[in-house]
């Protein structure tokens, strides 16, 4: 790749994008092959080497200290460069102005939104003298408007002669920002593409090596039998400073059998808390939760699961897997009281193992066997295992939080298919996703969540991602597009 360009890297999950980036950033050593930077062969033993060579990485998950200011965060660990005082501040100002980053050095990071934090991360990397930036799925957490702003920043960087390596699953974005695209599949480069002459479809087919799916809902399967009814859910939290914060405010909705209710919203607006309240992991202050006619507001998590709630958690490492346990033990997780995992009080290892084999086969989990630890699978394959596990117990209600996050296009289609198929048989789904195309494509009903409230609803048949995006930032409320009565 050449100077002053934005180079996009696309590929299925487990294709080797992350590994390649880790090698570039010195976190992993290649067995063979060379890296050449500025005509000079480089051997990168650790991130410090990479930084010295002018390579900087912005991780998908931000690495910022919330209780420090922007200035302190940027300077942290790089005190030797420009000190921690006025000189550092001047340098930050200079970088910020040069690339149009608009960073205010004295604000606490905890007061910043996601997009601002990302700019701080980029600034941090530039401050350390990076000439090549690696951005790992930078748009995953942004709404469309913020994505546009980020792309403007990237163009600024490019204009200043910096090189940007951009990793993403979202093909439309890749095409709009990249000058050159490299597609890798299963560890090798399968081709390069010119964005000007490529459609997202062609690109995706290159990635998967086959036809591309789209999340299109078929004929409606919505019935008028309520499966999950939430009424007046309220949850307040007291933070460390003793300030009470309302996390969930008067949440009410009903999901019917065969219906997918999608909740849009920028992360951190109460979606996680809502999911955890329905799962019984958090105890709301008020409100009732009714599943299939039974009040489960006071039930324990295990009872709720046994009553037929399937759960695809948003953070699979924290809530969905035992990373150091083998796959077949992970298959038991959350369903230890159910068949085929146990008989009475005893585990049925044989049954669980056989069923794990089945899940691995029918959900295309790519693994050499069921005795390897969950940690050794790639993210997408871990997700497929979780989806397979949750769908194997014929749930009445599926709570799917970002079900296809970090999953490649091929697996994404398979997961959508599984959800749709179950929906036909009367499954109710609560879908929470940052992927607006997924939300619009799958949902029968859409709600927008903002600061703990359901502020807007929309018809997925007519709404566009941009319109949804503006509601997600709180700019629009009520029923979007149509002037019908408000369902709230």
């Amino acid at each position: 790749m050449s100077k002053g360009t934005v180079h996009a890297l696309c590929g299925e999950n487990g294709a080797g994008k992350s590994t390649l980036m880790k090698i570039l950033y010195g976190m992993q050593q290649p067995d063979e092959g060379t890296i050449t930077i500025d005509g000079e062969q480089a051997v990168l033993h650790n991130p410090a080497d990479a930084i010295a060579r002018g390579i900087g990485m912005v991780h998908q998950h931000f690495m910022l200290a919330d209780n420090l200011t922007v200035l302190e965060n940027v300077v942290l660990g790089a005190e030797k460069l420009y000190g921690i005082g006025g000189k550092a501040r001047a340098k930050i100002k200079e970088i910020s102005d040069a690339y149009g980053l608009n960073v205010r050095p004295d604000v606490l990071v905890e007061e910043l939104g996601v997009a601002d934090r990302q700019r701080v991360e980029i600034l941090k990397v530039l401050y350390r003298g990076a000439r090549t930036l690696i951005l790992d799925e930078p748009t995953a957490v942004l709404v469309p408007q913020e994505v546009d702003a980020l792309f403007d920043n990237l163009r600024e960087l490019k204009a200043e002669g910096l090189t940007v390596i951009f990793i993403s699953h979202k093909l439309g974005e890749v095409l709009s920002v990249a000058d050159e695209i490299t597609v890798i599949r299963r560890g090798t480069t399968v081709g390069t593409a010119e964005p000007a002459s490529t459609t997202p479809r062609q690109l995706a087919e290159m990635m998967v090596g086959s036809e591309l799916p789209t999340p299109v809902t078929e004929e409606s399967t919505v019935t008028d039998v309520p499966m999950l009814t939430i009424e007046g859910l309220h949850l307040a939290q007291t933070d460390l400073d003793g300030i009470e914060r309302v996390v969930l405010d008067e949440i009410s909705f009903t999901i019917h059998k065969g219906e997918i209710l999608g909740i849009a919203g920028v992360e951190g607006n109460g979606q996680s808390e809502l999911v955890e309240a329905i799962m019984g992991m958090r105890h709301p202050d008020a409100g009732t939760i009714t599943l299939d006619g039974t009040d489960i507001s006071q039930s324990a998590t295990r009872d709720r699961r046994e009553a037929g709630i399937g759960y695809i958690p948003e953070d699979r490492h924290r809530h969905g897997l035992l990373l150091e346990a083998p796959l077949w033990e992970n298959r038991i997780l959350g369903h230890v009281t159910e068949k085929p995992n146990s008989r009475g009080a005893l585990l049925d290892t044989k049954g669980a193992r056989a069923d794990t084999e089945r899940i691995v086969r029918s959900y295309d989990v790519r693994t050499p066997g069921i005795d390897v630890t969950a940690a050794s699978l790639s993210g997408g394959n871990q997700q497929k295992l979780i989806v397979g596990r949750e769908m194997s117990h014929d749930p009445k209600l599926l709570i799917a939080a970002h079900p296809t996050r970090g999953v490649d296009v091929g697996a994404q289609a398979a997961i959508w298919d599984h959800i749709r198929e179950a929906r036909r048989e009367g499954l109710a789904v609560l879908l929470i996703s940052a992927d607006l195309d997924e939300l619009i494509g799958l949902s029968d009903t859409l709600r927008v969540m903002y600061r703990g409230r359901l502020v807007a609803d929309a018809d997925p048949a007519t709404i566009t991602p941009e319109e949804l995006g503006s509601a997600m930032t709180g700019a629009a409320t009520g029923h979007l597009e149509h002037a019908e009565d408000d369902a709230r």
Binding site: R318, H319, E324, G334, L347, R366, P368, V372, A375, S376
Partner: protein
């Protein structure tokens, strides 16, 4: 595919054995250096340890010691599997042994019944003492490390107070020893006579049963699965429907109940009374042994045997002109080395497996295009 998984398993086993082996070798080297530094030759010391350690009377002694240590190791390991550090095993077993001895001395029931009651009393006392720490942790968030250390001191004080003539103890052996009333001989546990080598404590059977129960409950039951889940990831456990708090309290209580058994081999097979010279500090030995045995029931057994062996043989070294403090050095170094070696091996193993999975998947991909050609 099967071949590969079995290979990974074999490798895991190899790695599992590598760590303690590595630690023991490192400990031997360091010990040799220490002996050299005291101006003596380590060679004869080690050969004397080997010779003496494998004499038949030593073997009986080691097995008897190991019985106690094994129970201590299992008790600590139950906590470890839950990510709980039960330092209080020491106080729990001493208090349990004391009250069991008091009860045993007072009972005049048929032998088997009173043995049973003594065991129940011991386990209940240990469980209650551990439950204090467990309840404090789940209700008030008190670290079990702190509370169990405190409870150890309190246990010491309670025993010292009650172990006085006129309280729960009496003067014995012509007024030289303060002890609880001795158990009637009907309440003694059976010994296995091995002839001139001495008597093997029958309690070893109970220890083995505890080991089997430990393996079975953790590995084969729903309860054990829940317990391990909490130990591996509290957040995942909560999401999967385990009540983490209840589990913390329960496992602390079970750990304490097993701790209650630690003093029983000594009480029922050897001393038959609780006096001021009842063995102390075994709870801490249990921590070392659980670490050494990787919380694995067989591993703990090997660790307990090793500890017994070291104690027996280093005692004998004194007669050969070596310093008996060598024991402490070896034990300390082994524990240190074990902790380091496990972490190193664990990380290496995880990385290695990730690489293997990657390699295997790459191999599948390499094979895939060929298949396509065949179809075409």
């Amino acid at each position: 595919m099967n071949k590969l998984t079995s290979r990974i398993d074999k490798e895991r086993l190899l790695l599992g054995i590598a760590a303690p082996l590595l630690a023991i070798v490192a400990a031997l080297v360091i010990t040799a250096l220490v002996i050299l530094a005291t101006g003596k030759n380590p060679g004869p010391a080690f050969s004397d340890m080997l010779n003496y350690g494998f004499a038949s009377d030593s073997q009986v002694y080691i097995l008897n010691k190991a019985t106690t240590y094994y129970l201590a190791g299992v008790s600590v390991a139950i906590g470890f599997r839950m990510n709980l550090f039960n330092i209080g095993v020491d106080g729990q077993y001493r208090l349990a042994a004391f009250f069991a001895a008091v009860l045993g001395g007072a009972l005049t029931l048929p032998g088997w019944l009173s043995v049973l009651l003594i065991l129940i009393c011991a386990m209940a006392t240990g469980a209650v003492w551990a439950a204090i720490a467990g309840v404090l942790k789940v209700t008030r968030g008190v670290s079990e490390v702190i509370s169990t250390i405190m409870l150890n001191s309190i246990a010491t004080a309670v025993i010292a107070y009650l172990l006085q003539p006129g309280k729960l103890a009496q003067l014995q052996q012509g007024g030289t020893v303060v002890a609880t009333k001795p158990l009637p001989s009907a309440s003694h546990f059976f010994n296995i006579d091995t002839g001139p080598s001495g008597e093997l404590w029958g309690f070893i059977v109970i220890a083995a049963l505890v080991g089997i129960a430990y393996w079975f409950v953790l590995g084969r039951t729903r309860f054990g699965y829940d317990l391990r889940t909490v130990g591996q990831s509290e957040s995942a456990a909560a999401a999967s429907g385990v009540s983490v708090k209840k589990m913390v309290a329960t496992s602390m209580i079970i750990s304490g109940a097993v701790a209650g058994l630690i003093g029983m081999p000594t009480l029922l097979n050897d001393s038959y009374q609780y006096s001021a010279d009842f063995p102390t500090g075994i709870g801490f030995t249990g921590i070392a042994i659980a670490l050494l045995g990787r919380n694995n029931p067989i591993g703990i057994a090997l660790g307990a045997l090793l500890w017994g062996f070291l104690e027996r043989t280093t005692n004998h070294l004194e007669f050969q002109g070596y310093d008996k403090e060598i024991l402490g050095v070896i034990q300390g170094v082994i524990v240190l080395c074990v902790v380091i070696a496990y972490e190193v091996v664990r990380r290496y193993g995880l990385k290695r497996q990730q690489q293997r999975v990657g390699a295997e998947l790459a191999a599948q991909v390499a094979a895939a295009p060929m298949k396509k050609q065949e179809v075409a």
